[in-house]
């Protein structure tokens, strides 16, 4: 785009920031909304808001976390409008792997089953590369709370993604 807006004093342009982070912003939105079309709409709307506010961004190092934050805010705004699942096309939902056993859960399916409150910090950490302290600041909570959510998320995933034939409760195996 011509005449790209830049942050502060000659910082990274908005275009550059979008090109650098678009993929992970989409993936983050996807794991919040669990729907491709909705995720694209959230990112597009978030970046429109971001574009309007970008000239006020002074801290170039914080552009990435700022972009993730506005995507997060846009998701919750969309949820509040209850438009989150309006017009969802069944074709947009990830196809479940038919090879898996009825109760077997591959990692992506297991992630689908995670509550947003657990998937959100996980996506920020793994996709965004943010530390627990940075995630705490973005989610406006404590670092300890983030660590707890991340630990529980991984424990839940490890419990869900189990080898075939190992789905019974521990007590039922003996």
């Amino acid at each position: 785009m011509d005449g790209a807006v830049t942050a502060g004093d000659g910082g990274q342009s908005f275009d550059d920031a979008v090109r650098t982070h678009a993929g992970d912003l989409f993936r983050y939105a996807y794991w919040l909304a669990r729907n491709r079309q909705q995720a694209e709409d959230i990112v597009q709307e978030a970046l429109l808001r971001g574009w309007r506010a970008f000239s006020g961004v002074r801290d170039r190092a914080a552009v990435k976390s700022w972009l993730f934050s506005i995507v997060k805010n846009e998701f919750y705004r969309a949820t509040a409008r209850d438009a989150r699942h309006g017009g969802v096309d069944a074709a947009d939902i990830d196809i479940i792997d038919e090879r898996s056993s009825p109760f077997g859960m591959e990692m992506r399916e297991a992630l689908m089953a995670l509550p947003v409150s657990y998937a959100e910090p996980l996506a920020l950490q793994v996709l965004g590369g943010f530390t627990c302290a940075e995630i705490a600041a973005m989610l406006e909570t404590t670092e300890g709370a983030v660590m707890t959510r991340l630990t529980r998320a991984r424990q839940a995933l490890k419990r869900l993604v189990v080898p075939a034939g190992a789905h019974e409760r521990k007590g039922e195996r003996s």
Binding site: A22, G23, L48, G86, L157, R159
Partner: protein
């Protein structure tokens, strides 16, 4: 640093600190745990990295107003807003049916999803054969299979009794079912709270609570179960 601390910090995902590394060098089980954890993290990253549409960044940038101009949204954006307005109107009509007093049982189903669902999943699934047997009189598993993909099923304590917690992936979204074979319900009841919607519908034996993130998906599943 002990093994418990090592495991706790490792699962939080912030990486291995110097103190953790020192512990691992002297602990065979934690060294083994790190190897397993690295494999798990690789799988986790691969799963989170869903494919992104081709030229996604270009499309995003192309939809933004031209710099320096008075904001003139492009045609595709106007179409998007019009579609969003139509969807909002449709949802508004659907929500009309959800007005009124929240039913306590439906509200309890929402609270379960908000507070206890993950814990219930972590308790583990039950064998499908056993699930089929205990639910045969109220909601046969084949019925659920016809509606969506059963991702989890297991017993859980609920409202002083035992319910069967089902995570069901339907085309629109994930929904949670709480099948209560011993809790009859005279008529359908609803509740909405904090962006979640629940409907409890009577079954041949007992009832089932359905919880989802939109009224539309809950109504859709309730209709399919009652059909």
């Amino acid at each position: 640093m002990n093994c418990l601390d090592y495991r706790r910090i490792l699962l939080s995902g912030d990486g291995e600190t110097e103190a953790m590394r020192a512990h691992r060098m002297t602990c065979v089980s934690c060294a083994e745990l790190l190897k397993e954890h690295a494999a798990f993290e690789g799988e986790l990253r691969g799963a989170l990295e869903v494919p992104v549409a081709a030229r996604f960044a270009d499309r995003l940038l192309g939809a933004l107003p031209v710099p320096g101009s008075v904001e003139a949204p492009r045609q595709d954006r106007r179409r998007f807003l019009a579609a969003a307005a139509a969807a909002a109107a449709a949802i508004g009509l659907g929500l009309y049916a959800w007005r009124g007093r929240d039913d306590p049982m439906a509200m309890a189903c929402i609270m379960f999803v908000m507070k206890d669902e993950t814990k219930s999943i972590m308790m583990g699934a039950m064998p499908r054969a056993e699930a089929a047997r205990v639910l045969a009189g109220s909601l046969p598993l084949e019925r659920l299979d016809g509606i969506g993909k059963v991702m989890h099923i297991g017993p859980c304590p609920f409202q002083g009794g035992t319910a069967y917690h089902v995570v069901l992936m339907v085309p629109q979204d994930k929904v949670t079912l709480l099948i209560m074979p011993d809790t009859p319900m005279p008529a359908r009841a609803r509740a909405a709270h904090d962006g979640m919607y629940a409907s409890v519908v009577p079954l041949r034996k007992g009832s089932v609570g359905i919880v989802g993130a939109s009224a539309a998906v809950v109504d859709s599943v309730a209709g399919a179960l009652q059909a």
